[in-house]
Each structure stands twice: as structure tokens, then as C-alpha cells.
Amino acid sequence: MSWIENRFEDGLIMTSVDWAINWGRTGSIWPMTFGIACCAIEMMAVGASRFDIDRFGAGAFRASPRQSDLMIVAGTVTYKMASRLKRLYNQMPGPKYVMAMGASTVGGGPYFKHGYHVVKGVDLVVPVDIYVPGCPPRPEALLEGVMRLQDKIRHERRAKDPVDEQNRQQLEAALDAV
């Protein structure tokens, strides 16, 4: 829309709804204060000044799921914790995102074989958007995860893409035929 820009008085901005909403959501991902195990120590480091997650607008750690956009599952999820985790996820308002931080959360990690009490990947309990591997991940890795989540949010669309919709219908029809 460059032909129309700067042709009106100051203060008038031309943009699309998608761009404006995605820009707002990208810069204000509020994570939930939800550290379950040692990965939470790295998450705290990310919140502190050396790594400073506030640079990405994701530093407002909320103590309530009702004010959070992002659940960073930072640590080993036990079967006992899984029901609480699911309840917290259900209490979050949409749009909501889940980041699986650390090897245990991604897929059981060091407890995959000999951990009788560990959920073998938090994606068995709640849907996961971003996986951050590491045991625990470096703070830079967590920041990378935040940036990838921002990429994901940046490309969200309000309206359905007609081509995507057509592809989806064709795929569903093909699956029904099978």
C-alpha cells in the first residue's frame, strides 16, 4: 500500500487487521510463573537482567493462568502433576500457547526408560507449540524458543485463506475416501 502512505495528515496509519493484532500479540506474550523443576532456574535466569526476556515483551510473568498467554512448562512433569497442568491450561484464556522446555518435557528425557512417574512428553497432556530441547536448555535456547513463538504468532491469520481452505477440504475428502 505504499502508493497511499504519507498522503494523509500525521497520525493516520494504514495497516491490515492481521498485522496490527499479530504485532500486539507478538510483543506482549505474558508467560505463566510455572516452574516445575530445574529448568525453572534457567527460566529465572532468562527473566533476570543478563538475558532479559523483557526485550521480547515476554517478561511479565503472571501468577495466574487467567492473565497468561504462554505456559512455559519448565521441568519434569509427573503423572501427579499432569492433572494440575491440564487444569491450569484449561484456565488460560485464548489465544494460548505452550512451550515445552527441557528434555523431560519434550519427551521424557532422562526419565524415559527408568522414570516410573514421569509423563513421557508433555504433548501427551496438552498441545505444544514450541519445543525447546536441552537438559536444561541454555537461556539463549529459551529466548530462541520465544522468538520462534513470535514467528508463529506473526503469521497467524484471522480470515481463512481460500487456497488453504480448498486444500484442507481436499485433504479431508481424501481421508474420508480412505
Partner: protein
């Protein structure tokens, strides 16, 4: 400070029928006490003026699968009295081992003697399934209340699923989704 031999001789003199064996040259010297008389021996260890074993440092449960037994090791220490004339004294140290049948494990609770035993015995019950008679509140302490089996026993079978969350890769083989 009394040596482990002196403590063992004192106990043998006091309870000739209760002391089964002693491992005094072990890394952690111990005496084995019959489970039926354990409570009386514990009271004596705590209250006798020569011993004053006021500090139960730890309870370790052992699964002796080959002998078809379960054992508890009580790690005891006397806290020496602090006075102006006596700057430092070395505490008495002894471990007490109580063995019980693996199929119907019962050991009298010493939570009335050392309050620290309360949660330790609950943990031993949770992980090994040892039932402590006359315990004030014998419930699982770490696992959920509806957990099946005792996880730290050597013949423990891992749960295939827990409340719909698959626990092992075998779950997928037994319940194929496609």
C-alpha cells in the same frame, strides 16, 4: 563417645532375645533387631542415659529380593549436650536394621519415639509397601493416592498408562490409534 561394639554389647545385655546379628565392621556399623521387639529397643536407645540417641537421621528401606525380605535401616545419632565446660563431644553413632517378610511386611512404627520417623515411614510405605503398625497417619506421601504398586521394589512393573496418559511405548503397541 561409645564405640559401636560397646553399644552393641549394652543392647545385647539389655535385650538378649532381640538382637539377632550385628555388622560392626561394616562401613556404617549396625545391629539387627527383631521386628517384634523393635519398639522397646527404640525406647531404650532414646531414653537410656548412656545412649541418648535422640536424633533419627534417616530411615532407609531395602528390598532384599533374593532373601524374600524387606528391611529398614534406622540411622541413629546422639546429640551431645552443650555446656560451658564441655565444649565438644563426639556423638554415638549406630544404625539399627529391622527385617521383615517381603510378602506381608510389618514393622512397628517408631513415630511415637522419634517424631521424625513419621514422614520417613510414610515414604517407606509409599515406595516399598512396608506397613508400619500404629503409625499415626499411614498414607502415601509422594505418589498419588490411587497409585498401584510400590515403585522402588525390585520387581515393580511400570504403569502402562495412568489416567489416560500413556506411560510407555508399549501402550501404543497395545492400543493402536490407526
Amino acid at each position: 563417645m561409645m564405640s559401636p561394639e560397646e553399644i552393641c554389647n549394652l543392647l545385647k545385655q539389655q535385650f538378649p532375645d532381640s538382637i539377632i546379628t550385628a555388622g560392626l565392621d561394616a562401613n556404617r556399623p549396625y545391629v539387627t533387631v527383631a521386628a517384634d521387639h523393635w519398639l522397646q529397643v527404640a525406647r531404650f536407645l532414646r531414653d537410656d542415659d548412656r545412649l541418648r540417641m535422640g536424633f533419627l537421621r534417616c530411615i532407609s528401606a531395602i528390598d532384599l529380593l533374593a532373601d524374600d525380605k524387606l528391611a529398614c535401616v534406622y540411622d541413629l545419632m546422639s546429640v551431645p549436650p552443650v555446656s560451658a565446660t564441655q565444649v565438644m563431644t563426639v556423638p554415638h553413632l549406630i544404625a539399627v536394621r529391622v527385617e521383615t517378610d517381603r510378602n506381608a511386611p510389618r514393622i512397628p512404627s517408631v513415630a511415637s519415639v522419634w517424631p521424625a520417623a513419621d514422614w520417613h515411614e510414610r515414604e517407606a510405605y509409599d515406595m516399598m509397601g512396608i506397613v508400619f503398625d500404629d503409625h499415626p497417619d499411614l498414607r502415601r506421601i509422594l505418589c498419588p493416592d490411587d497409585w498401584e504398586g510400590y515403585p522402588l521394589r525390585k520387581d515393580y512393573a511400570f504403569p502402562v498408562e495412568y489416567h489416560g496418559i500413556p506411560g510407555t511405548t508399549e501402550h501404543e503397541l497395545m492400543n493402536p490409534r490407526h
